[in-house]
Symmetry: C2
Subunit: 221 residues, 2 copies
DNA sequence: GTCTATATCCCGATAGAC
DNA sequence: GTCTATCGGGATATAGAC
């Protein structure tokens, strides 16, 4: 019989390379793998055990790098906010009115949810206690700021109006994204296109309607 | 020694009453208990084991009445649609314009999410596969129909415009509800009031904006 | 028919050995 | 840093008491 033991091909030459994560990259490998698993099974289908299995480590290994499952998900969420902000920033064009910018951003919001479903799922479906992860709140600020800029241009600085419109636009975008992921617009790329377009148009109508209502003095509450 | 055994007060007289569900009401008791548990811990915190424990029944008992956890949740979701439709119907007033009705319904949508959080949570946070529960889709139809009525009045029957506006209003309402439950409007009754008011105003602006854009011919895609 | 008892499997989490 | 071992809890399926 050959000296090969049972199922291990060539272990002697490289004590710490293939299939093992002994030198500190297990942490980032776990984050990547988490996103993979979540993309396949959703957040609620993600488990540390599954991620450990895919990386060839024991179920206890992740606890050297993360306090618990939510702690890992919080790191994924922080990365998600980073990607989200980058995607939003990529749509800014100088020769667009603030209203057009907001409409485009609402569309991109929806597209982000569809194309980075795993990340979006973690942001809004993981049930992370934000007060427990201050870094999460900090990671969200750039995103909020990107919505604030065009709204400030539109509202001229009135703080209450700014807050009002930012929330309305966010809710419009988020609602379209949530309904899309829920299947309300159908499935496939056409559904994403449709939802993106609808979100943009709804946002445009919202902004236009605000202006009209302000002109006509139809304001209460 | 008194004849009282150890911890059982009076078992001999009533063989099949207190603490037992031998006669067919375990099914409905499970639904009620599920709503209780979900209200306390959220959908993802609900388990058949916990419901069984509260009802004094074995973990296997629920499987006599429901195929699995999702099957029970689907029944809860069907009840949720019923309550939702009833709440929406309660807000209809004849002397309101279709636009005012839609705005009010968006507000009620948000209030329903807050006041019946368990039911709302099941509807949108349980991840139920709707294609697997046809009865769920049927239960949702009355709700959709309530939004369709005022929209038809507004759009004069153009099928594309009707679909467009229903989705936009739904998304606006849903977005506000989701952000409220996520804590974006703060916590407590004031947050609910604020979110309800914002959803109503955003819907009013949306409808007004649509009309304005149609007048000005600003329509594309 | 309804529930109990039981057994298997997966997951989260911790303690201690290497 | 990772592994082994282990505990508790939940989902699920089956066999059997009443």
């Amino acid at each position: 019989m050959s000296p090969t033991p049972s199922e291990e091909p060539a272990p002697p030459a490289e004590p710490d390379r293939r299939g093992r994560y002994h030198h500190g990259d297990l942490r980032s490998a776990l984050v990547d793998t988490a996103i993979e698993v979540i993309a396949e099974r959703g957040v609620r289908g993600f488990s540390l055990a599954e991620a450990s299995r895919r990386l060839g480590v024991t179920v206890a290994a992740p606890y050297r790098h993360f306090a618990d499952r939510d702690d890992l998900l919080a790191v994924v969420a922080i990365r998600a906010f980073g990607v989200f902000a980058a995607v939003l920033a990529g749509t800014l064009s100088e020769d667009a009115t603030p209203a057009e910018q907001l409409a485009a951003m609402a569309g991109v919001y929806v597209r982000f949810a569809a194309e980075h479903r795993a990340l979006f799922d973690v942001l809004f479906g993981a049930g992370l206690d934000k007060s427990k992860y201050p870094a999460l709140g900090r990671a969200a600020e750039p995103v909020l700021e990107m919505f604030l800029a065009p709204v400030r241009s539109l509202c001229g600085g009135a703080p209450e109006a700014v807050d009002d419109l930012v929330m309305a636009v966010s809710a419009t975008a988020h609602g379209h994204a949530a309904l899309l992921l829920d299947g309300a617009f159908g499935t496939g790329p056409e559904a994403v296109d449709a939802a993106e377009s609808r979100a943009a148009r709804a946002t445009a109508a919202l902004v236009a309607g605000r202006a009209a209502m302000r002109l006509h003095g139809t304001m209460d509450g």
